[in-house]
Subunit: 337 residues, 2 copies
């Protein structure tokens, strides 16, 4: 298998891809050529405009992680980051300083914003930014695509006693960063999704792939929003490539983020089995051929097999690139012919 | 005299105003009340868009200087500045990194750009930014106005052997910062000036002033551009207040900047006398009642007096707020009744 396509959110997805690339280039993933090319289709429904600049958290997390610019100690943003602008915006007492933008990160957003205002679609902007982060490191072995060039934004309806309707609707980032995912979610609203179209290259990356991977990203607000772009789900159903996913839920909990809250909002239980069944089996309306769960979730295998999914249970903690490469190898092994 | 209006460029003007305010509040300027109010009408013809943000160098130099945020050691920009964004923009290899924007400075431009894109005129944006820098320090004793809300930009035609016409036209900042004012100037072009209007408050600040001061700012690209906004020169000619200026040329040279080159471009000699005569005498088509020159330029007094200007020669080096307050006192003394 030479052409691998991965649907990705931010942290979980980029960590997985980092391990996948490590595994590929060290030849430890049987069935994948060492010169394989990885296309990442990233979620853009978390994107927002802040302080006048366009911020694309998942695209940037993938870029920074694969381009050796990610701050692994902090767990988000740029390494060597400085915070002068945040201090200044607080001194100006402008709204929105709850969303911590570092100075280096803002430089990326300034370049992106200028290109968007000059008329370039997000996919071309992403290619331009990737010159620095991906092409210089990986040459043509890694390609990053936004799921769409259109505006899609996840909004969250939360209880608000001060509002006449009893609800407030906030941008996903406000729910996640300002409210720390700490208030009950009444409803998720995917603004613009029904009218969005896959970005150039996305459909080809699915239909011409040798393998499609759904990494341990958030099944609702990362992978779910990618699958919600009209055409993408159909492309995954139609591709001749096998499709394999890795559970982001281990032992009934997300490893990081707020998948539990998001799954609850759409009525799916936060278990490895229920998430696998939520994605569903290809040929039965779903998108997966295989679903890898953690060793702690081996009891999920029976119901997964019963649904027609290939499934296995292996350790899923991505503690370093080596262990993540092993996870990738297990996922590939599950669906490789 | 209680209402003082000052036409200002960046560095020279703000340094003068700082000393003026010091002199006023310590009661060392005879004829000016200690609770006098100073309105600054600042040049905006140096303004530019860089990396997608609106930069107003003279407005900001005045704000930062009077608001204790100016870096006096570097001689421009914010104290405590950091340079992460500049590094990043260089790493992205985008054009325009010759114009050094610091991170803290960019925060100001982000706030400004957002307000401008939301539809606020520059004068209202400036009032909002002044809350932090001026109002918090000076209450209602200092007010900052842009000369106009309209786009006026100084462009410079320079010799360019590679161009078919033999000329290139660059933004003033490109001439000054990138080319370091080191190439001969063929012509100055004030884009948009003829169609510009004085910003709200500007005409009142001139017509209702008790005193108008032209500080030692650049007579061509700072004060000259302010006077070039249709209505402003007429307001200065019509105001009942006396108008006094301080020479930016000492001993045939500018103290800082590129006044010599700019004066050459409009055919005015770089001497204290010629600059005073260039501004001219009120009642004879000019804008001044008095003109203060440096002690080294006492030989200019004869021709200045002959033109009808009140004139005196005193030390004009603004080495600190005390010496600058003395200069302000001498200027006021020249025209006070």
């Amino acid at each position: 298998m030479r052409d691998i396509t991965v649907l990705s959110g931010g942290h979980g997805g980029s960590k997985f891809i980092s391990g996948l690339l490590h595994g590929i280039s060290t030849g430890r993933i049987p069935g994948i050529e060492e010169d394989a090319r990885v296309t990442v289709i990233a979620n853009t429904a978390d994107d927002l405009w802040m302080h006048g600049v366009k911020v694309c958290p998942d695209l940037d997390t993938v870029m920074y992680t694969l381009g050796n610019g990610f701050d692994h100690d902090r767990g988000w943003g740029r390494k060597g980051e400085t915070w002068s602008i945040k201090e200044e915006l607080e001194a100006y007492d402008v709204p929105g300083t709850w969303f911590g933008l570092g100075d280096r990160d803002i430089a990326t957003h300034l370049v992106r914003t200028q290109m968007i205002e000059a008329g370039y679609p997000l996919s071309q902007v992403t290619t331009a930014l990737s010159e620095r982060w991906l092409r210089s490191v990986w040459d043509d072995r890694v390609r990053l695509l936004p799921m769409t060039d259109d505006r899609v934004e996840t909004h969250v309806a939360v209880k608000d006693a001060d509002s006449p309707s009893g609800l407030s609707v906030v941008h996903f980032q406000e729910y996640w960063v300002r409210l720390r995912a700490g208030v009950p979610v009444e409803k998720l609203i995917f603004v613009g999704q029904d009218e969005s179209r896959p970005a150039p290259g996305v459909m080809d990356a699915l239909l011409k792939a040798d393998l499609v991977i759904v990494p341990p990203s958030n099944p609702v607000v990362s992978v779910g929003t990618i699958l919600g772009v009209p055409g993408i789900r159909e492309g995954i159903i139609a591709t001749p490539a096998p499709v394999v996913g890795i559970s982001p839920i281990i032992g009934g909990h997300h490893v990081r983020g707020m998948a539990e809250q998001m799954l609850a909002a759409i009525g799916v239980g936060a278990t490895a089995a229920e998430v696998g069944l939520h994605y569903g089996t290809r040929g039965a309306g779903g998108v997966l051929d295989g679903w890898l769960v953690d060793a702690a979730d081996a009891d999920a295998l029976e119901s997964l097999h019963a649904s027609g999914l290939k499934a296995a249970a292996v350790p899923l903690w991505m503690s370093d690139d080596d262990s993540t490469a092993d996870i990738a190898a297990a996922a590939v092994g599950l669906v490789a012919r």
